[in-house]
């Protein structure tokens, strides 16, 4: 069995210093298995988002050890963290697509840091990814001509285009109506399952809990349920 893509041990994190020090994560352990889809839920301020940014190497670690895709994050340099981010696909609450690029160019941006591909290969692959999310006919449109659901699907295509080892998503359905939200997460699940990419998805949205292999609930900086790995390979929850 290979090392799990995400392996966190006793992560503690606090904002501020001195009197103003406010702990947001207390002794969090979490492991995600290859190909597993984990939903992270919990009330606002429970530390979900902080945990996500730590796993995504967007923040420097404080206490604890975290191995993500084989990279130890504790004490990792900025350059190491930047390199790790290239192997992670991010999906944000807002699509954050570059407004001056077409959908296809936006997806290709995920591969421009990959020296192994040339421009033709990047655009071809971006086209394939857009086809996979059902936007083949919209590849040359700028984001302003796409609906909210379509933009988020472009963001999904972009997150997956770089062949990531892990997908991190933060409230990907928050800005969408029920139908398009469902479409986006099901698409995400199917594509990720198809390639064995694990997903960690932070959400408040009860309508999308059905895609999870496991649901982890957080409260007050601690994991209160779901910390144990589910038996993967069985039926999705």
């Amino acid at each position: 069995m290979a090392a799990p893509p995400v392996d966190l041990k006793s992560i503690t994190f606090a904002y501020g210093a001195g009197e103003l020090r406010r702990a947001v994560l207390r002794d969090v352990d979490l492991t995600i298995a290859p190909g597993e889809i984990v939903l992270l839920t919990g009330p606002s301020g429970s530390g979900k988002t902080t945990l996500l940014t730590l796993i995504g190497a967007l923040r420097a670690m404080q206490d604890g050890t975290a191995r993500v895709l084989g990279q130890e994050l504790s004490g990792a340099s900025e350059a190491e963290r930047v390199r790790l981010r290239r192997r992670i696909g991010f999906i944000f609450q807002n699509h954050n697509l570059l407004g001056f690029l077409t959908a296809r160019q936006n997806v290709a941006m995920a591969m421009e840091l990959d020296g192994g591909l040339n421009e033709t290969q990047r655009l071809k692959r971006a086209g394939e990814m857009l086809e996979a999310v059902g936007l083949a006919d919209h590849a040359e449109k700028p984001p302003s001509q796409l609906s909210g659901g379509q933009r988020q699907r472009v963001a999904v295509a972009r997150a997956l285009a770089g062949d990531p080892g892990l997908i991190l998503a933060d409230e990907p359905t928050a800005a969408l109506d029920k139908v398009s939200g469902q479409e986006v997460v099901h698409l995400l699940r199917d594509l990720a399952k198809g390639r064995g990419v694990p997903i960690l998805l932070v959400t408040h949205d009860p309508r999308i809990l059905d895609i999870a292999d496991r649901i982890v609930a957080m409260e007050d900086g601690r994991i209160v349920s779901g910390a144990q790995e589910a038996t993967v390979g069985g039926e999705a929850a």
Partner: protein, 419 residues
């Protein structure tokens, strides 16, 4: 259409279903150096292109700065070029001036005997004294008077070569005759046209009536709006002064003489009341008066700097607002693994693009203005390639500094805030 018809067809395997391990996402090879520069530049161009009005404003700002710098440096250069119009037209090998002479329009007299002393050197063929003074010229049409530069010399000696002078050497030998510089400012009257219509006619110089017998070409300078050439004898008729003094001595050497060696010998021979200068040194001496002895050189440099500062602020504003309005997109790129250095290259790429697309029309417009303003002011505004290169470097530096200032704004793009 939102359903994936058959994901397994597109994506052949699912390890958690078949028990295989997912391959670890391998570290990818770094992009080639050319791509590391070309791709940020392309992204910068795509971003600039997307907002036409902003791009136009930035282009206009850079163009404005380019034109301002071109005009200021043009005026400065024209000043120095025209200040040396008169001396530059002289065709002699060595010159003598008084050490206290700052500028040719206000010379300090030197003993004329120094000219004859130089003849002691075997390589000196000819030593011609030149007389410089200012007087007034009455416009024959309007009657208005204006200060004019007088040049007294032996026109036949060949020490000075103004276009047109060679044909009127004999005429200038007659009493009370003079030649007028047709490139003088128009306030002196349409002398060229009148001369063409009437032939020689009488004009008033100072309080004296003299006969205009010919035209030469010298050009006005900041020190003199117009020039009048006459013989040594006629000069003395107009300007009363000691007969033993002159203002400038032009020396011609025998063919094949070593100029530097002769200069050294003359310096040793002559007392300290004259400077022995080559033609280049004479022009440089005059130029340095205008550059250092007057505020004019500084004024134009200051004007150029102001143009650069204004241009820099405009470019900075454009780049800054580009970053500020796309801050979440920049943060997203950082989250995707784009380094600060890459994004800084995007901003610097924008600065470079603005420098080029603003400079090129600025160069064209300045060229046009040089032509128009040159015709209106009679100043030699010339678009030297070296000046265009200097201005481009200045504009490029301006945009680069603006870019570096704007790059600091990138720090605000924190991917951790994106969630």
């Amino acid at each position: 259409m939102n359903e994936i018809a058959n994901p397994t067809k597109l994506l052949p395997w699912a390890p958690e279903r078949n028990g295989e391990e997912a391959p670890a996402a391998a570290a990818k090879p770094a992009p080639a150096l050319a791509d590391a520069l070309r791709l940020p530049l392309r992204l910068a161009w795509r971003q600039l292109r997307a907002e036409k009005s902003r791009l136009f404003a930035a282009m206009a700002g850079v163009m404005f700065a380019s034109v301002l710098v071109f005009m200021q440096l043009g005026f400065r250069g024209a000043l120095f070029d025209s200040a040396t119009n008169l001396l530059g037209a002289m065709r002699a090998d060595i010159f003598l001036v008084h050490p206290m002479t700052d500028a040719s329009f206000r010379p300090e007299p030197l003993p004329r005997v120094r000219a004859y002393q130089t003849l002691a050197d075997p390589d000196v063929e000819l030593a011609v004294p030149l007389y410089l003074a200012q007087s007034t010229w009455r416009n024959p049409e309007t009657g208005r008077r204006r200060a004019v530069q007088l040049i007294g010399l032996d026109a036949g000696a060949g020490a000075v070569d103004f276009p047109g002078l060679a044909g009127i050497v004999e005429a200038l030998k007659r009493p009370d005759t003079l030649a007028f510089d047709t490139r003088s400012r128009p306030e002196f009257g349409p002398i060229g046209r009148l001369f063409a219509e009437r032939g020689s006619f009488d004009v008033q110089l100072g309080v004296r009536r003299m006969e205009l017998v010919g035209l030469v070409e010298i050009g006005p300078s900041f020190g003199a709006d117009g020039n009048v050439v006459m013989s040594e004898t006629n000069f003395r008729r107009v300007v009363e002064r000691g007969a033993s003094n002159t203002d400038l001595v032009a020396i011609k050497l025998r063919a094949g003489a070593d100029r530097a060696a002769v200069r050294e010998r003359l310096r040793a021979l002559l007392p300290g009341d004259v400077l022995v200068l080559s033609h280049e040194e004479l022009v440089a001496h005059e130029r340095s008066y205008w550059e250092n002895g007057t505020p004019i050189g500084f004024i134009f440099v200051f004007g150029s700097l102001m143009g650069l500062v204004v241009g820099m602020v405009i470019v900075y504003q454009i780049l800054f607002s580009d970053i500020a309005s796309h801050i979440s997109e920049y943060a997203t790129l950082k989250a995707m693994g784009y380094s600060n250095g890459y994004l800084a290259r995007v901003v610097m790429g924008s600065a470079l693009i603005l420098a080029i697309i603003g400079f090129v029309p600025g160069l064209g417009l300045s060229w046009l203005l040089y032509d128009m303003v040159g015709k209106a002011t009679f100043l030699p505004l010339v678009m030297y390639p070296s000046r265009a290169a200097v201005v481009f470097l200045l504009i490029f530096g301006m945009c680069a500094i603006a870019g570096m200032l704007a790059v600091r704004k990138l720090r605000d793009a924190n991917p951790a805030d994106m969630f």
